[in-house]
């Protein structure tokens, strides 16, 4: 699947396109198919997102998994500060990245 990600313009937070809005949870991402450029251009022009880009991802039993490690780190947070990630209570969350 193709999903869209970017950063919030004001806060810089990593955000994902859920079909209607930009949200913090990668698992809410929707498959944008061949509409990535169109959605990204529209949303960036409206300043609802900054520097959006499309990535490959797959739907797994654990949720949506970006194809590239860089986007998995973005989805989770820094693996060396688990307390600051989106899964602070999951001791094995960093394993999901690799």
């Amino acid at each position: 699947m193709k999903i869209l990600t970017g950063n919030d313009l004001k806060t810089g937070d990593v955000v994902w396109w859920d079909g209607a809005d930009w949200v913090r949870d990668v698992n809410a991402s929707v498959d944008v198919g061949d509409r990535a450029d169109e959605i990204a251009a529209r949303e960036e022009a409206a300043r609802r997102v900054n520097v959006p880009y499309a990535i490959d991802a797959e739907r797994t039993d654990d949720g949506i998994r970006p194809a590239h490690i860089k986007d998995r780190v973005r989805a989770l947070g820094p693996t060396v500060r688990m307390d600051l990630t989106r899964r602070p209570d999951d001791a094995n969350a960093a394993d999901w990245v690799v």
């Binding site: 950063n7 313009l9 004001k10 806060t11 810089g12 937070d13 990593v14 960036e44 300043r47 900054n50 520097v51 194809a67 590239h68 490690i69 860089k70 780190v73 973005r74 947070g77 820094p78 693996t79 060396v80 500060r81 600051l84 690799v98």
Partner: protein, 544 residues
């Protein structure tokens, strides 16, 4: 330490107002991201992997207690309770909001700090020797020259859209503690045969994709022509540096492709022309700046010995203090490399502790090193034990300066959008391995440096042992390099062979150090042994 006058303060305040206006125009959509990006970068604001990142300048690495306290306050108020000291003597915060950035710059300006030109294709913050003013071997304190260049390079109208970033280091001793020859311009303050101070200019060094050791371009520029010579060197670069390929845009490529003699000739020509333009500040300005860097009021007749009855203290004192030019004093290095910790990170509380200790033990002064540690430059030997106990209580007394645990590591893929692989977890695993197996204490001086990508923020080319993270088909892979040095005997490390995975590289480091332990002769550091026996024995052990 330098103090702003009303001019300096006004310049920084004006910059804050300018950036506030630019941020407003970005948030309202008047500026596109493409247009805003160079403006925010020239104020130290990146868009990183997880958020905006702000890099705050610590000019030539020198801070007073109040400034360090402000860095702590910013970590607390605008970030997530910590900051990361960098390999260019700066500090960066990882979780900044764009809408807060102008307020942060305003807060910094209240303590004579800023984030001006900590990124972007312009002249970056000037770095220097972290023992400046304390080292016994310096011909003069290099920081006044760095400060003069700070003012000259700030808001430079001709050199703010250079082909690429531009880094300058200034030192004043033969012992290079600032990796001077790995900068775009390295200046060494020297004395000539007549006993006059002047500048030796090394131009065209750098790490990154194409590491190069800067050649000597001019062996002596009189002090009252230093700014003019810099202007000439930069103008030749601005006009002729490559702009067709960002990987070939640094001045090292220009000097290399043009040849150092031809580059030097063109600089001389421009220099001769610019000497007629009256652009050089008078020596009186250098004198004015120098007064701020006068020695603090060192006491005389202090006891010169240390009570070594506490073995933990004795070990720390042996490893983490450095001889001082004034009898009875040492420079103490606070390691930001606890075993298993994140190299260079400091919490709000730790920054507050370091600020207070600087105030109480070191004439209110501290330094950031390019090795991501903090120096208290002027500590009385008689107070060293008390200082140690306070550091220890704050988790800041790891006795590992220049040991294998004193690892330089860039933020890597945990934070950086340019990275191909993580750096920090490797540093943690290596430091832990060598602490647990006890071998770390047997290795002596060993400089290990890790970069998460070819840009080399972790100085891997200059490590006695270097590690470079690469992307191999979507997984993290690590190349091993041996034999680099950033000291006066600058050399570039060479790759051993095929890369390793994360666990494999930790094993490979141990294999490498085992070869050293088996082969070293009396008094040899790892680097000395490597230089004597060469790469082959290491390769055989690693791949044989």
């Amino acid at each position: 330490m330098y103090k702003y006058d009303t001019y300096d303060q006004q310049m920084v305040d004006t910059r804050v107002a300018e950036f506030r206006d630019q941020t407003r125009r970005r948030l309202s959509g008047e500026l596109s991201e493409d247009q805003f990006k160079p403006l925010r970068l020239m104020n130290g604001l990146y868009l990183q992997l997880h958020a905006y990142m702000l890099r705050v300048a610590v000019p030539y690495g020198t801070l007073n207690g109040e400034q360090m306290r402000m860095l702590a306050r910013i970590a607390d108020k605008y970030d997530r309770g910590y900051g990361h000291f960098t390999t260019r003597q700066n500090i960066q915060y990882n979780w900044i909001k764009l809408e807060d950035a102008p307020d942060i710059l305003a807060d910094l300006a209240t303590v004579e700090m800023h984030a001006i030109q900590t990124s972007g294709n312009c002249i970056r913050n000037i770095s220097s020797d972290h023992f400046a003013g304390a080292a016994a071997d310096e011909v003069t304190d290099p920081r006044p020259y760095a400060e003069l260049l700070r003012q000259w390079s700030s808001f430079h109208p001709e050199f703010s859209y250079l082909p690429r970033k531009f880094k300058i280091a200034v030192i004043a001793s033969d012992t290079d503690r600032a990796a001077m020859r790995l900068h775009d311009i390295g200046i060494q303050i020297v004395t000539n045969d007549a006993g006059e101070l002047g500048c030796a200019f090394y131009i065209g060094g750098g790490m990154g994709r194409t590491p190069m050791v800067a050649p000597l371009i001019r062996d002596f520029v009189p002090l009252d022509e230093m700014v003019t010579y810099c202007e000439a060197a930069l103008r030749v670069y601005n006009r002729h540096g490559r702009r067709d390929n960002k990987y070939k845009a640094r001045i090292k490529i220009l000097v290399h492709e043009m040849g150092k003699d031809e580059y030097a000739r063109q600089v001389e020509e421009e220099f001769a022309h610019l000497k007629g333009e009256g652009i050089e500040p008078p020596l009186a300005e250098l004198d004015r700046i120098r007064e701020y860097f006068a020695d603090p009021a060192f006491k005389s007749d202090l006891p010169d010995d240390i009570d070594r009855s506490d073995p933990d203290f004795a070990l720390w004192a042996d490893r983490n203090t450095v001889a001082h030019k004034a009898p009875g004093y040492v420079a103490a290095v606070i390691s930001l490399k606890p075993v298993g910790g994140i190299p260079g990170d400091a919490s709000t509380a730790q920054m507050q502790v370091m600020a207070d200790l600087a105030t109480r033990y070191s004439f209110d002064e501290c330094r950031v090193t390019h090795t991501q540690n903090i120096v208290l430059p002027h500590v009385e030997k008689g107070q060293l034990y008390e200082l140690f106990k306070e550091l220890d209580a704050a988790g800041l007394a790891t006795p590992n300066l220049d040991q294998i645990g004193d690892i330089i590591a860039c933020p890597g893929l945990d934070y950086c959008s340019l990275a191909n692989a993580r750096s920090i977890p490797l540093a943690q695993k290596i430091a832990t391995r060598f602490a647990e197996n006890g071998k770390g204490d047997t290795l002596g001086e060993l400089k290990l440096k890790i970069s998460g990508c070819i840009n080399a923020c972790g100085h891997h080319h200059a490590g006695h042992i270097g590690i470079l993270g690469v992307d191999r088909k979507g997984t993290e892979n690590y190349q091993l390099l041996l034999g680099g040095s950033e000291a006066a005997d600058t050399s570039l490390a060479k790759i051993t062979g095929p890369g390793f995975d994360e666990d494999g590289i930790v094993d490979a480091i141990e294999t490498t150090t085992d070869v050293y332990l088996a082969q070293r002769e009396d008094g040899e550091r790892f680097l000395d042994t490597y230089r004597r026996i060469g790469m082959t024995p290491f390769k055989e052990a690693l791949y044989g």
